[in-house]
Amino acid sequence: MTTLGRIRALTSGRSGRLVPLLLFVVLVGYPVVFPFAIYEQGVLLLAFLLALMAVSWNIVSGFAGYVSLGHSVFLGLGAYTGGLLAEHFQVNPLWFMPVGGLVAFVAATLVGMVVLRARGHAFVIITIALLLAMQVLVNNFSQVTHGSNGVNVPLPTWSSDYQNMPFYYMFLALLAATVGFAAWVRRTKFGTGLLAIREDEDKAAAIGVNTTRYKVLAYAASAVPIGVAGVVYAYFLSFLNPIGAFSLLTSVTIVLSALLGGRGTLWGPVLGGFVVTIVTEVANVYGGGTDSRLLVLGLALVLVVLFLPRGVLPAISARLARRRAAAQTVEYTDQAGVASARTPIVVSPRSAPAAQTPGRTAAPLLEIRGAARSFGGLRAVDGVDLTVEAGSITALIGPNGSGKTTLFNLVTGAMSLGSGEIWFDGTRIDQLPPWERAHLGLGRTFQITRLFKSMTVLENVVAPLPTAGWGLMAKDAVSGHEAERARELLDFVGLGRFGAQQAGSLSYGQQKLVELAQVLMLEPKMILLDEPAGGINPTLINRMVEIIRDLNRQGIAFLVVEHNIPLVLDLCDPVAVLSRGQVIAQGPPSIVRADPAVLEAYLGPEWLPADPVPGPVLKPADLSVKGG
């Protein structure tokens, strides 16, 4: 317990920051104290380089979850840029460090724009193809690159007594800068968005995250430090050739370092980089030098993926946290959540349309004209016409499988429209990507909540982007205005004290409220609610209704899908009824309730009006539509 206590003492407060600082000071002082430990300096500087590359890799592959298998391509690009320019102008290559970073940035951006519009396996294939293709290209364009003859980089100009000491400091400085850069990225809304993409890319798009831009930018950002370091590396090596500079093995060690230390954490890749360099060097010196290096790297990669997929640091942290948790009493979060009070705030949509133009008969806020979408032979949405007036709480009801969730997906852009038009606040939106619809002020919640479960509640709420502005992406997400706003919204839904909790640990009902707070961060004009009352306890239902009314009074329109008919009739006006992909009735609750067509539609055995349990068990039809 004493050790644990000490660790806890260190992890809290300022002393925690002292430790990396101390380590940095030691590393800075080392060559001063032992100026002639040249070999150790040589090993350490390679460790700095590997750690730097792993930290950079982590930005795209750890934060955003897009694994790059060919990340050493940027080292090669930087090295060749520096080497060739230095040779051409006969000057010190270090002048070209910014150019190396720029070349890496441009290359990553171009490649990223090709493949990162996509999901899945395309990216990982491209990264490895890019690396191997660069080997061939650099070999073949021998007029420029000298091909397989390689490039002679000028030798360092300083006295040989200094040996690699200047390189040691350069790589150390670059490593420190890269860690600082990664830490900054992680703190910004951009970083939060990257994590959101890793957790749930569709959901990220729905809360205004321009996923393509984020991914391309993350890839480019992860290339720049390596490109800069590549120039120094060229100077250090003094000779470049295509195979050595664009080495696949280097990529493997980068990936292994980051995975081993802890993908997605800040310090994990640093730790991994040191461990991998030092272990390889020790194995090389004391292992007698065998052909087994590849074998060991390969096996290590397999074992880490299988048994330590999150890496050393998260594993240790999780264990520490468990022991800590065992030592304390666990607070029952659900009860606490219910008990805690809401703080009323002004949410105010960006331009509350109804409030601003009271005199005019405004055009409907949302207008769906003849929307259709089919999956194979099934016409899930079959020519829907629906309008939502500004300032209204419109309900969308209908039997299971009538196309409600599909319609939501069409409106928010999670699915593409087959035919028809969708207009929102005077803009045709059916061809826009989801994030642009969100930027127009359209927010949604999901039938089964889709929070980013491994992020904190606060991070979840701070992630959304109400506008496409680049400046907003760079805003601090941990403190400052954005975080303040997110805390306010959490207070507003009554979950202020759970900000630091992991979102996945909240109760289902609390998650629904967090998701609502998340949508509010978009400063929406309209919110689509998919079964807000589904699966949550009556106390929370009441709170939900209270919040919806509160927001509506401030000018936010709602389109609500809900099975709890009494709730619908109490809350909403008008009510639209969807059946077999078409709107069969729309009007005030009293009229709709009496409509014979509605009654007929609801006569099916599936309809269980009073049952608040959410969909999946009861709604196989709806599920299969989504799967298609």
Binding site: L69, H121, V124, I128, V305
Partner: protein, 293 residues
């Protein structure tokens, strides 16, 4: 003219062999949604085993496919059960990392046991050719292509006519639907992986005769095969066949009329261009899932 016909014939012969190798890779992707980067390394492993057996016993290397194929079926089954099944359901990134790790491990094993040398099996017919109208058909290439086409045909029959094959195809097309009619996804995945790996048994034995290889050759092969299945459409067997022939021809023609130096780039270029303009490839639809735009 002769040169053109010669190039086309060589391209077709190579394409047949590529088709066999690529069909295993695409089958695994179709069923399991995993890109088996270790496919190339398994090919080289088989090529080495074939070469070793040939050099010790003198048995014809292409005939050795009869032994290698069931052997690799077993290896595939064990790999799935022992390693790949452990990560089913994790992100594409992790599965690629895993198969990449396996590939490097195999390369490392070959480095340690066999050494980093070029090898190639050279049966007596190696430097002979059939000659038709001034066109040379190298015997090794012809036999290799015949073996490949036979196995490819067998594979299609198995997938089309047997219950197992239909289960595999059903799972590839619609996993949840297949589960509904009682197909056990994990069993099918193991089978598909084993069959996909078994194709390296034939592919590798043919490779040992047609191409000199060394442990690191697998990068070269996996890039070619990825180019082929990306072009054909990931997961599509017909696509693999067409992709293989198209790229076999493209490679030979580039090498003949431009330079061998640029022919390797064809595969990378194809990957880039296909992903940019037609991400689903010629026949497939699964690789690139666009966020709606």
């Amino acid at each position: 003219m002769t040169q053109l016909v010669q190039a086309l014939v060589l391209g077709l012969l190579i394409g047949g062999v590529y088709a066999l190798m690529a069909s295993g890779l695409t089958l695994i992707f179709g069923v399991m949604n995993i890109i088996n980067v270790a496919h190339g390394a398994l090919l080289i492993l088989v090529a080495f085993l074939t070469w070793k057996t040939w050099s010790v016993t003198g048995i014809d290397p292409i005939l050795l496919a009869v032994v290698m194929t069931p052997l690799m079926f077993g290896v595939g089954w064990l790999l799935y059960k022992g390693v790949l099944s452990r990560i089913s359901g994790s992100s594409p990134g992790m599965s690629v990392l895993l198969t990449f790790g396996i590939a490097i491990t195999i390369e490392g094993i070959l480095n340690v046991t066999a050494g980093n040398k070029f090898r190639s099996a050279t049966p007596s017919y190696f430097s002979q050719s059939f000659r038709i109208l001034g066109i040379s058909l190298p015997k090794a290439q012809v036999y290799g292509c015949i073996a490949a086409v036979l196995v490819l045909g067998l594979l299609y029959v198995v997938l089309a006519k047997t219950w197992t094959g239909r289960a595999i195809r059903a799972t590839a097309q619609n996993p949840s639907g297949a589960a509904l009619i009682g197909i056990q996804a994990s069993g099918v995945a193991a089978l598909a992986f084993a069959i996909g790996t078994a194709t390296t048994g034939v592919g590798g034995s043919v490779l040992s005769v047609l191409y000199p290889f060394f442990p690191a050759s697998h990068y070269d092969w996996i890039s070619r095969l990825l180019g082929i299945i990306v072009l054909g459409g990931m997961g599509s067997l017909a696509g693999a066949l067409v992709g293989a022939i198209v790229l076999g021809l493209a490679e030979t023609l580039t090498a003949t009329y431009v330079s061998l130096q640029w022919s390797t780039l064809i595969f990378y270029a194809v990957i880039m261009i296909v992903l940019l303009f037609r991400p689903q490839g010629l026949f497939g639809s699964r690789l690139r899932q666009d966020v709606m735009a």
